[in-house]
Symmetry: D2
Subunit: 149 residues, 4 copies
């Protein structure tokens, strides 16, 4: 099916006289979140995997956070124009021994002008002492990222 | 800090006359979820990373789901007894072209008898057509896994 | 379809020699959560509304929590055997001026033995200082309640 | 305590030369969500309770949704400038017999210009057949509302 899809994408690209790169959303590059954080994502591997860094931005007063590594993957990155993605950030904190991890799950949208936007929901967990304390371990929220050019 | 922690763990182990291995939770192995699904997790890499498979169990009527690959990592797997973890499942569906992805974020607990339990929250996303349709793309829930012996 | 369903329910009731009332799940009464909290729910109003109290149970070490009022409603309480419900708890805390609110959204299930179980997801929010701090205001989790007889 | 607070607010208002009304966020009135839906909220009761309607906006293609009733409450509505709130919408659908309910949990923020914004997380549940099907019953997302003037 991969080759049929590729052929279709190529055909559409020739008809529309646009390069596929303009209309496809890829996570590689630099992004800014709606809360002012920055994120740098590596070139994608052949399987859609990537690594990168999450950086506290100027809008973040929480100076406790250091630049933190992220790992993730994009689904069908070269087959569909608006792929879904997931990645995990293992937070590096200045003065804390508590492990904190965030998972992001989202989709990369591209509009008719080629502008890309990432819409994601995330879960943030701190380590708990015991199953009895587990109920309060997880926070939830959304993030929207736009590309830094 | 690693050597201090190791020394402490060793000391506690000697005092308690139990091997540290019995009291540490590791994701490697086979697990059953409270909804009857099964999960097989590989031996952990040095950095805590793992791969594996998610299998629909007998309790799942949804025969549409095929065995699906998972990728994830465990934090501080050899340093703390009850590490947090995250993993992603890319669903393989029989008759669907819609991409579906689930991210799990949880913690591995071990009780005084050495019984391990995984507590996790998950987000499940389907690909949406556009940002306007994005609001309904994500489901949420919890899973509890116990080890299959 | 309503009359067909009624006929079916009546037929099943006659066969099983139980009154339909025994097979319908209603929130009124006393419940215990899987985390050891207790909840008392009033008799339902005609529109399915109810009030009640949420009490920290013996399993809760968090003695900061006082008995807290709850308000909610059950949907189609007298029409369907397994109705959905929602309620809000405004937490009364001993030493805190921070407002905390939890919303529960769930469904009341009844098995073939007439045993009732409530499955719910909840969101817990603390007041934040500003929209910039809003991202970390909300926790999420699940609760399962069984009736105290 | 109400009269003391009123006196304090009056004093602050005189000092700052602004009317208290400009700086306090109240849910009463008309709002538009970031997904183009509209919401009308009644005058608050003495206990902070309110009712209202949720209307599909022009941006919503989902013509299946009819104007649906909402019920909720605002916490400490007259005591704090940026109160938290919760409300429930029981969806009225044109061609569906499936009960759908959304709970919103959020906070009303007001900026230095007196502009109000509601930030909320929501859970949306459909009725499920049985506890085994419960895992897929709940969706999650966020909404941001601005006042329609």
């Amino acid at each position: 099916m991969g080759s049929r899809t590729s052929a279709l994408v190529l055909a559409l690209a020739l008809v529309a006289c646009v390069s596929p790169a303009e209309r496809k959303c890829l996570l590689s590059g630099s992004w800014r979140s709606d809360t002012g954080c920055r994120m740098v994502v590596s070139v994608l591997g052949k399987d859609g995997s990537f690594s990168g860094s999450y950086l506290p931005g100027p809008a973040t007063r929480d100076s406790e956070i250091l630049t933190s590594p992220l790992e993730g993957s994009q689904q069908d990155a070269r087959l569909v124009p608006q792929p879904t993605f997931s990645f995990t950030v293992h937070w590096q904190l200045r003065d804390s021994e508590t492990a904190r991890t965030t998972v992001f799950l989202g989709q990369c949208y591209v509009d008719t002008n080629g502008e890309e936007t990432l819409h994601a929901l995330w879960l943030l967990r701190e380590a708990a002492e015991s199953p009895e304390e587990d109920w309060k371990a997880t926070r939830i929220g959304t993030s929207i990222f736009t590309r830094i050019k």
